[in-house]
């Protein structure tokens, strides 16, 4: 715009200054990791609350007392915003290429914090830089708040609040894995650091573990290597007909719970009973017919296969779970005991904990005698969600406005 060439570091700062500052912060972050050999540990309640309030007051003070100062003006400028986006993007990009949290990580990449970027100082600086700039931009456009700034406010303040609450609240997130069984109520679990946690305030006893499974699939495998040769999806259900490679396959009989006695499978509902199917196969080329029982077996009973040729076997794969859930009895310290069912995607809330269905004993499959649950406490979630809902509203607004511009 102006004809004279601006000397660097002379206000107003633009792209050169913004990027130099961002790169300096990046290098400083790497250096601190390299020299200090430590990662950023997250702060916890109530320190994070005090720090959060302090940061908000600081941002408000900076804005209201110094908004005319060129430095503060720069902090809420587009060049600063772009340098902050680039700084953050650069670190996320590294995260996209370098495997994170690998225990084998070593060398310079590890020493400057790149094997665990989220806990590195460079990432901390990127977040602070991003949040300061985003915070000041939001303030500048919010006073006075005008109607046509609605979208801007929802998007910018929503993002600021989400990132801010997620960052300072990270230290308060508790995830405890608890393995429950039918024998007695369990009142302790293991957190993500591997420590045993006793004061959960709840005890859980498994009443019943349920798995609903898909029909098992049939595959043709190599006799020697065990590699799967067929690509077709063929479900073993009574009466099902189809082709697998060069064979026409028909399921003559099928038991969800079968046990082999002598030569034959019988429908028996007993611990360890596995699905079994009686199949008839016909080779399309040679018309050779084979028939027999196949079963995937279980931890208790051996499986069975059908020999198609010297090289190929028809086998049943273990059925994949469709749904699994735990019927549990929950005891709380307040004496409020109740029974409930916890299912994947359907957590239950008790005493500030959200309880999730996590896993079970895979070797025993549907006969699993244990259920693995996860208790999660994240006190900052309402604030994060408030930010997320603002962002959703902002995105809908933006979609609508983008549309309008096109019509104009």
């Amino acid at each position: 715009m102006s004809n004279y060439k601006k000397i660097i570091w002379q206000y107003p700062w633009r792209y050169a200054e913004s990027f130099i500052i961002a790169i300096a912060l990046l290098i400083l972050g790497f250096a601190i990791n390299y020299i200090g050999k430590n990662t950023v540990s997250s702060i916890q309640w109530p320190v994070n609350l005090y720090l959060g309030i302090a940061i908000i007051i600081l941002l408000l003070l900076i804005y209201f007392l110094f908004k005319k100062k060129p430095f503060v003006k720069w902090l809420s400028s587009i060049p600063a915003a772009i340098s902050a986006i680039c700084f953050y993007t650069f670190l996320v990009l590294l995260m996209g290429f370098i495997p994170q949290g690998s225990p084998k990580a070593s060398g310079l990449v590890h020493e400057i914090g790149l094997s665990d970027i989220v806990s590195s100082h460079a990432f901390l600086f990127a977040q602070i830089y991003f949040l300061v700039i985003l915070g000041l931009v939001t303030l500048r456009r919010s006073f006075p708040l005008k109607g046509n700034n609605t979208g801007f406010f929802l998007n910018h303040f929503g993002l600021w609040l989400t990132l801010f609450a997620a960052s300072i609240g990270a230290g308060d997130l508790q995830r405890v894995t608890i393995t429950v069984s039918k024998t007695n109520a369990v009142y302790y679990g293991v957190n993500q650091k591997g420590e045993t946690i006793h004061d959960l305030g709840v005890a859980i006893q498994l009443k019943e573990f349920n798995i609903e499974e898909y029909s098992p699939k049939a595959f043709i495998i190599d006799n020697k290597s065990g590699d799967i040769l067929s690509k077709q999806i063929f479900y073993l259900e009574k009466g099902n007909k189809g082709e697998i490679m060069d064979w026409e396959v028909e399921v003559d009989d099928f038991f969800e719970y079968g046990v082999c006695m002598g030569e034959k499978f019988h429908p028996v509902y007993d611990i360890g009973a596995a699905p079994a199917a009686y199949v008839i196969t016909k080779n399309i080329k040679t018309n050779e017919i084979n028939e027999g029982w196949i079963s995937c077996g279980s931890f208790r009973f051996q499986g069975n296969f059908l020999k198609l040729s010297d090289r190929m076997l028809l086998v049943m794969a273990e059925p994949e779970p469709k749904k699994y859930s735990s019927k549990v009895k929950i005891y709380t310290t307040s004496g409020d005991d109740f029974e409930t069912t916890i299912e994947v995607n359907k957590p239950v809330t008790v005493n500030g904990w959200k309880i999730y269905q996590l896993d079970y004993n895979h070797a025993m499959g549907k006969w699993s005698d244990i259920s693995i649950l996860e208790l999660v406490k994240d006190p900052w979630i309402p604030v994060v969600y408030f930010g997320i809902f603002m962002l959703i509203a902002g995105a809908l607004y933006m979609f609508w406005i983008g549309n309008k511009k096109k019509i104009d």
Binding site: I82, Y235, L391, I392, M398
Partner: protein, 266 residues
């Protein structure tokens, strides 16, 4: 085994679309050619919509799990957007682009036959599944068009025939695509909280989705203040789409992918 035969459906659809495009190509010379062309394109699209509906019923789950299945959705949405845009604004190139890409997607699916598998892991059985994937599909379709604009723009600049209005069109597409990208990311976060206990776990797909989002965020902010720096803007737009492609397709080939809930098993 299935009443549905994908190959036949795909061939019929492709044939209908090609006939439609040919009519539209000669609309100056032939009376009613545009109307007939539109009609053929619409019928072709209805065939693919019908196929998706029957497939959904047949496999007893939303057909949104594998890459091949999502390609089918693109082959449905792109023509809808393309035909509507063509009827409303008469952008011929846009119709050719959207139908052409839809034909490409169907062809990829014909070459890589997919066995539509009924199984869906329990975590994916959620009311969030459909909105999460659909907003992403729509978003990618819009951002895909913006990348065509950027490539076309870079080509025009070489021959000094570039007009800034072209980039304004890209801006609108990016605004719409970016807002859907935001929704997709947030729906994913809300879903993850219900399914896995936390809204953000830096899963490789999440990381790349965030990167894609950041690249378009960069484009929007760059365009906001630097309207005259056309070439830089065009390059940011082109690179952002490359990041999007890595997120969509390339993720399965990266060293980081490891165990990710988003790695589509085949």
């Amino acid at each position: 085994m299935y009443i549905l035969n994908f190959n036949n459906t795909a061939f019929i659809t492709i044939a209908l679309w090609i006939i439609g495009l040919l009519f539209i190509l000669v609309d100056k010379k032939l009376k009613n050619a545009r109307l007939i062309g539109n009609l053929f394109s619409i019928i072709g699209t209805l065939v693919i919509i019908g196929f998706l509906i029957f497939l959904w019923i047949e496999i007893e789950r939303p057909p949104l799990r594998t890459l091949g299945e999502t390609r089918l959705w693109y082959a449905m949405f792109l023509p809808i957007v393309g035909i509507l845009t063509f009827i409303r604004w008469q952008y011929k190139w846009f119709l050719f682009y959207s139908l052409g890409l839809a034909i490409l997607f169907l062809t990829i699916n014909i070459i890589n036959p997919e066995n539509f598998d009924k199984t869906l892991m329990p975590a994916l059985q959620s009311p969030w599944f459909v909105p999460h994937v659909i907003v992403y599909i729509l978003s990618y379709a819009l951002l895909g068009v913006s990348s065509v604009v950027s490539a076309w723009g870079l080509y025009l600049i070489k021959f000094k025939t570039f007009k800034p209005e072209l980039l304004n069109k890209a801006d609108n597409l990016v605004y719409m695509g970016f807002s859907l990208l935001t929704l997709g990311l947030l729906f994913g976060a809300l879903w993850a909280k219900e399914a896995w206990g936390h809204y953000w776990t830096w899963d490789p797909k999440e990381t790349w989705a965030l990167l894609t989002w950041l690249c378009y965020l960069l484009y929007i902010h760059f365009r906001y203040k630097n309207k005259q720096k056309i070439i830089t803007a065009l390059w940011i737009l082109a690179l952002a789409f490359i990041v999007l492609l890595i997120c969509w397709i390339g993720i399965n080939y990266l060293a980081v992918s490891g165990y990710s809930v988003h790695t589509y098993s085949s």
